[in-house]
């Protein structure tokens, strides 16, 4: 399936498109809503055309970063660009695109006078078609000849990556080769070294390793073609007619695959799967049917389908997705299967927030987001009941609600195909996330039993490990820089390259702070970048922290560390800036609270603050600091 089957159809979509822009105040939100419908390529193009007229530039006050994406390749790509832009829109991201002159991508990359350089991309997508990648390969080649050809194309791709990164210092996405070539040998095609199909399969294999080594992300169209059939992606007749490698009907899915990668780069993938219980997690109604009556597990196809869905949800937790329950039930009834039903795959500790009551689901989703300290736009809500789905879509448009049938068999597929949880890497923190929420519960219990705040904080036995940026921590550092929204003073987003540049800069420092306590390891929870200015001011370029550790004196302890590093660089003052976004209002007065003097406030709500290091007295906290 190349259609966007997890998105709902909107009945009056065409009329709403025609009316788009009549009210400029709501036009962007309305455009985002229209992009979150099941669109074919014709409607995708129509939406793109209208939105581009209404928003030739990004609207003010977006919580997302606009993207300037250069799509480079050797075939016709024009028809893919609207779908990429609409996929950005679907995620609230304004995307501008550039396409190289037909076939000229290598030349443009080497020519600073080219249109590509003038465009100044902030991301590059290399969409090289399979015919181009297999050029010169023929069944007549022997093994050595095929190896040479493979090394050559690998070298050329690597060189292209290098050129793109040196020129634009931006993320590079490489599309894998589509398996468009018909077999010439058969099932044992791999025994023919010069087979083009075999050659591209080997190249795709090699691309995985190369991309990891070089920090490039892949757009795995080969995997998708394997899943839904190459003829859905590639129409040979169209290739002959117009050199479109990817057929227009597949463009909306192609665009969405690109859009979710770009969103993941900004830390805007979803974080939490919220599940209904009755007829979503098991068959039947637990309150009426009881433990023996619900369909779950061996014995029926339906029961096995629910087990398979639970198993998929548990797989998601193992890579860092948080699970929550939102169900209309008496809590005691709702919890019972998690504790006592022998066929349940998910158990109570797998669920980080469990809400079962008779209130409306929109309100309960708000409570879940609050409890987990994440945004509503991080929630995916799955429910078999179309009434509940529509209610949530209407009340909370930022929550993703996949369109599913009442057959649980297809729930894993709907969630996977939608790409809500698109990830670019998996860090140790991701693997431990559910455990960390459990530890938080233990901390809350201690807090409840402690008579006052100091005794609670002392009882936590906290230890902060302060480490300079290093290559080992690079993934997590970049991940935090790009996805922290709330406790983030400047919301500056940096790539791998930028972080490496901080490490190499003698007048700057980068700190990664890990917090441990008696309940466990919170992982790396704060990132600092300081830059020394010529006037001996140390500018705090980046200060971000995970909201999970709020209220534990991490902030003043961090300031002590910043002051210490600043003095080492010979700084006389610290300058802290707050740049407001839609999401970081909680740190508006961060610097004033830490004893800085407010020097300047701007109209947008930002402020600049200063503290003199000569008179700075490190705060006393309950956190023990060690250098890692």
């Amino acid at each position: 399936m190349t259609d966007l089957h997890w998105l709902p159809t909107i009945p009056d979509w065409r009329a709403r498109l025609r009316a788009l822009g009549s009210d400029p105040a709501t036009a962007w939100a309305e455009a985002v809503a229209l992009a979150n419908a099941r669109l074919n390529f014709v409607l995708t193009n129509a939406l793109d055309e209208t939105v581009r007229r209404a928003f030739p530039a990004p609207p003010a006050g977006l919580a997302t970063r606009p993207v300037r994406l250069a799509v480079l390749g050797s075939a016709t790509l024009t028809h893919l660009l609207p779908a990429i832009r609409v996929a950005g829109l679907r995620r609230g991201i304004w995307i501008d695109t550039y396409e190289n002159d037909f076939g000229q991508y290598a030349q443009e990359l080497s020519d600073p006078g080219s249109g590509l350089f003038a465009f100044k991309p902030t991301a590059v997508l290399l969409s090289l078609d399979a015919y181009h990648l297999a050029a010169g390969v023929t069944a007549g080649l022997d093994a050595a000849g095929a190896d040479t050809a493979l090394d050559e194309i690998k070298g050329r791709i690597r060189e292209t990556w290098r050129l793109a990164r040196e020129a634009f210092r931006c993320p590079v996405i490489q599309q894998t080769a589509l398996p468009v070539h018909p077999a010439v040998l058969g099932s044992n095609e791999h025994r023919l070294p010069g087979s083009r199909a075999r050659f591209l399969a080997r190249l795709n294999q090699a691309l995985r390793g190369m991309a990891d080594a070089d920090g490039v992300d892949l757009l795995a169209v080969d995997d998708h073609a394997a899943r839904c059939g190459i003829e859905r992606w590639h129409d040979t007749a169209l290739w002959h007619r117009s050199k479109q490698e990817i057929a227009p009907p597949a463009a909306p899915l192609y665009g969405d695959l690109v859009g979710r990668l770009l969103a993941a780069k900004q830390g805007r993938s979803f974080k939490c799967l919220v599940m209904d219980l009755d007829n979503t997690m098991w068959g039947g109604v637990i309150g009426d049917d009881g433990m023996e009556g619900i369909a779950l597990g061996q014995g029926s196809a339906l029961g096995e389908a629910y087990v398979a869905f639970q198993d998929y949800a548990r797989e998601l937790t193992r890579r860092g997705v948080i699970l929550a329950i939102c169900s209309k039930n008496d809590e005691a009834n709702a919890v019972e299967p998690f504790e006592k039903h022998p066929e349940m795959v998910l158990r109570r500790p797998d669920i980080s927030s469990f809400v079962a009551n008779w209130s409306d689901k929109a309100g309960n989703l708000r409570a879940i987001a609050e409890e987990l300290n994440i945004g509503l736009d991080s929630l995916v809500f799955i429910d078999d009941n179309p009434f509940e789905r529509n209610l949530v879509r209407q009340e909370l448009p930022m929550v993703a609600v996949p369109e599913v049938s009442d057959d649980p068999t297809y729930y894993p597929r709907a969630i996977a195909d939608a790409g809500y949880f698109e990830g670019l890497s998996v860090t140790d923190e991701d693997r431990e996330r559910t455990a960390q929420y459990q530890e938080n519960k233990a901390r809350d219990a201690l807090k409840a039993s402690a008579t006052d705040l100091p005794s609670y904080l002392r009882g936590l036995e906290m230890q902060l490990i302060c480490k300079r940026f290093d290559r080992l921590g690079l993934q997590r550092i970049v991940q935090l820089i790009n996805k922290s929204n709330q406790f983030n003073l400047t919301t500056k987003r940096y790539t791998d390259e930028d972080v490496l540049a901080v490490m190499a800069d003698p007048s700057a420092f980068g700190l990664q702070l890990r917090l441990l306590d008696r309940f466990g390891d919170n992982g790396v929870i704060a990132i600092i970048i300081g830059r020394l200015r010529e006037n001996q001011d140390l500018y705090i370029d980046t200060w971000l922290m995970s909201c999970r550790v709020l209220g534990r004196q991490v902030e003043p302890t961090t300031l002590n560390l910043i002051a210490q590093e600043a003095l080492k660089l010979g700084a006389r003052r610290l300058v802290g800036e707050y740049i407001p976004t839609r999401k970081n209002g909680m740190v508006k007065d961060h610097y004033a609270k830490l004893g800085f003097t407010v020097m300047q406030r701007d109209e947008a709500g930002g402020n600049r603050n200063i503290i003199d290091l000569a008179s700075f007295k490190p705060a006393d906290t309950f956190i023990h600091v060690t250098e890692g």
């Binding site: 014709v42 129509a46 209208t50 227009p248 009907p249």
Partner: protein, 80 residues
């Protein structure tokens, strides 16, 4: 098998979506020179949308022989 008026109705909807114009009236003689923006890309969009709508594939020879809307409707009629 769809009747000719049914094919015209379906094609009209496709044309309205492709050109974002609800005032286009489809006639057999209508061709690319009569509609602003009907270029080779839009031509492919029309073809692909038609294939999707009627669950059929045009052959390369059929596509090469298309001159106007009437030709398109005739091919759809013979193939569905």
């Amino acid at each position: 098998m769809p009747t000719e008026p049914e094919i015209y109705r379906a094609m009209t909807e496709i044309f309205h979506d492709v050109f974002m114009r609800d005032d286009l009236v489809l006639k057999a003689e209508l061709s690319a020179k009569d509609v602003q923006g009907w270029d080779s890309f839009k031509q492919i969009e029309i073809i692909m949308a038609t294939e999707e709508r009627f669950g059929m594939k045009f052959t390369t020879r059929e596509l090469d022989s298309l001159q106007n809307v009437g030709d398109l409707v005739r091919v759809v009629a013979t193939r569905t």
